[in-house]
Symmetry: C2
Subunit: 431 residues, 2 copies
């Protein structure tokens, strides 16, 4: 038995706590759904201020988590995700302010029309209800997810990773102060008060029917578990196996700049390019400079036969490489026979997340944009733009690759449903 | 073992058939997603013509189903749902033409904006993929669902009830002729070629990952099973426990006309009113006429104490009555203390489907419309308007009461997803 498992009385107690949290969140959601934009924005402003005021407390809590993480020999990448400093705390407060600055999605009339019988039909945005967020080491998800759910009139139940437990608790305390200052219920943003893993199973089961949506944020194994076990809808992406295709019509300078950025700006994010496809017709001119740029930037290149000829340090790519999301300074490179073969490659090996074409020829580009079945398709831009902030949503709770409900970056507007409001003058249905 | 169960080799064979159907549907969906509006509309026109041309064959097939149904002692209500005649066949053809007349949802730019860095972002409608429809006795669902899926660029896998097997097969044959005339693949609309119930389980399991959505159309037990077992998203409603609330400010003549229509126009549809709530402040003037109208129209009335005093034939309502979707000429009537108690009643007992207020006072009405958390809320109109056709969608594949993806009547536009198309001029992401 690991330290996180629970049996007998402990489990019953945990279950009671979790169900009570679900019930309180549902009640809070009913209040939030009727709260106006001004009240929610007041809470968001107070939350940002509280995060800033609590910076010393938050950093002290984070120091505790970091110490425990070092003792547990977490990897450098995980330590980096966990670590907070002045700048990152300020970024959290700014993030909340950006969410606050967005238009309130709730109550917006998405569409309105009149029927021949005079009925006035409007489609009006409403919140989803209660959203569960299951995440790993990044403590800032606590602030981002809490603020996005509040903006969209939803209650949030946050279940952070055990590594970031103290940090998340300190951040959560600041968020709750903000809620109280705006007379909103504390249960609008609940942090699961335990690192017990059994709590995740209870969230996935839907907390006795109180959860409307689960958003997992973290590695593939977490997302896979959530998608497999959840009895409520899930918005997520399993991986971001993103491609950049350089067409024969591509401007070489532009292609070099974009490929370097798409692969290496940050290698650990889901929008990082993992496979570079180069048009056979441009191989003679474009392939060598693109590969050499990457090698010079200390990126490992795994290429097909043509690519291997460019430089002796290019390693051979195996079939498995085309299926691999490296999240590291490694890229797979393949020469393809024009845009049609690029599309076939991406549709076969890709993860329907984000894919880009670099081309000057508009017809070729439009073919690519229409044929690639991914959440985001780009023309002459870096795949690293796959991000709610970059899309102008203020922030995102995640990126979804499924086609149900929301696809691509999920911001406040995507965390909503709608209802039909029909206004009549006494109409009855004939027939 | 009933005649519908399968074991051993039969089951393996069925599974192979079903998986092959799923694979063929997925391939067809890829073609449909790229088919233009003109080609799809050509198929829809040919489908309507084929239904008309095949009327004798369809009616002969239906006669076979009706004979078997009479032998099996199906209820009169079920026989009525199953029965086809000249008028109903013509209505199917007309329904397809109405779907054809709708705007093509695919490729539509839902939103478009430019970022400060010059990136042009568009949100473009795309199909969902492959949609499974599991239905019971109404053979016209074959035509409606097939046509709606085609219009929205989705492939359909239809699994009709065993009672309507021959009718559905004849209708399906006409649809397939229409597809062929427009050079679209037959597998765009697949009818499961067996009445074996194991096929439903395979659909609910997602056909090896090929299904993107399941829509159940039928009774509560079917919908419950689908919601419980499906491993793919489901759009449905379990029941339509609809309310009409008559406020003290209601115009009595209007209220009488609407209540009669809401309850009795057709009692078996999900938008039929099941509970009438009358404002205490209007009980003296409004309650008796409303109840007497219903009694005169041969509707059984089950009322609270106040309502029972109106007429000796009013039966006492039990707690269970407020939870009951009669789908019959029975209504539950309760006097409530104003709009706030009406809202509390509906939120406690209702099914979040369709609820109406009859009121002249706009403030009261707007309070009701905003506070009731249902897919459809109406002011001064009959709940029987809960219907995709009445909403102007041409037709509906069903009505959904969940908040995820689509809510209310589900037409062609709701059977879609979207993708982000981003056009740049060489932008890379800073930082």
């Amino acid at each position: 038995m690991t330290k996180h498992e629970t049996i007998g009385a402990d489990r019953a107690e945990l279950e009671a706590t979790m169900l009570a949290a679900g019930k309180a969140a549902r009640d809070a959601a009913a209040i939030l759904s009727r709260a106006g934009a001004a009240q929610k924005d007041r809470a968001l402003a107070a939350m940002a201020a509280a995060i800033r005021a609590d910076k010393p407390t938050i950093l002290a809590a984070n120091a505790k988590d970091m110490e425990a993480a070092r003792v547990s020999n977490l990897t450098a990448a995980l330590l980096d995700r966990l670590a907070l400093d002045d700048k990152r705390v300020e970024a959290m407060a700014k993030g909340i302010e950006e969410i606050r600055a967005q238009e309130d999605p709730i109550g917006a009339v998405i569409a309105r029309w009149e029927r021949p019988n005079g009925l006035q039909i409007s489609r009006v945005r409403v919140p989803l209800g209660v959203i569960g967020i299951v995440y790993e080491s990044r403590p800032n998800v606590t602030a981002d997810a809490g603020a996005l759910c509040l903006k969209s009139g939803n209650a949030a139940i946050l279940r952070g990773g055990s590594e970031s437990f103290h940090s998340s608790r300190a951040i959560h305390a600041a968020l709750v102060r903000g809620l109280k200052e705006a007379d909103l219920p504390e249960a609008a943003i609940t942090l699961v008060p335990t690192t017990d893993r059994a709590a995740v199973g209870m969230l996935l089961a839907g907390l006795g029917g109180t959860l409307d949506l689960i958003v997992p944020r973290g590695g593939k194994s977490l997302v896979e578990r959530v998608q497999r076990e959840a009895r409520v809808p899930v918005l997520a992406h399993l991986e971001g196996l993103c491609h950049t295709y350089v067409d024969k019509s591509a401007n070489l300078d532009m292609a070099r700049k974009i490929v370097l950025n798409a692969k290496l700006r940050r290698t650990g994010i889901c929008g990082a390019t993992e496979t570079l496809l180069v048009d056979k017709a441009a191989a003679a001119t474009h392939l060598a400079p693109l590969v050499k740029d990457l090698l010079e930037a200390k990126c490992e290149v795994r290429g097909d036969e043509t690519t291997q000829k460019v430089d002796p340090s290019v390693k051979p790519a195996t079939e498995q490489d085309w299926f691999t999301e490296y999240l590291d300074s490694i890229i797979a490179v393949r020469v393809v026979d024009g845009v049609a073969e690029a599309v076939r490659h991406i549709e076969h090996y890709g993860s329907h997340h984000t894919d880009a074409i670099i081309a000057e020829d508009a017809e070729t580009a439009e073919y690519f944009l229409s044929q690639i079945d991914s959440a985001i398709v780009l023309w002459n831009a870096s795949t690293q733009f796959a991000d709610g902030g970059e899309f102008g949503m203020g922030a995102e709770i995640g990126i979804a690759t499924g086609k149900f409900h929301a696809r691509g970056p999920v911001g406040a507007a995507e965390l909503t449903s709608y209802k039909y409001v029909v206004r009549g003058k006494g109409q009855v249905r004939p027939g």
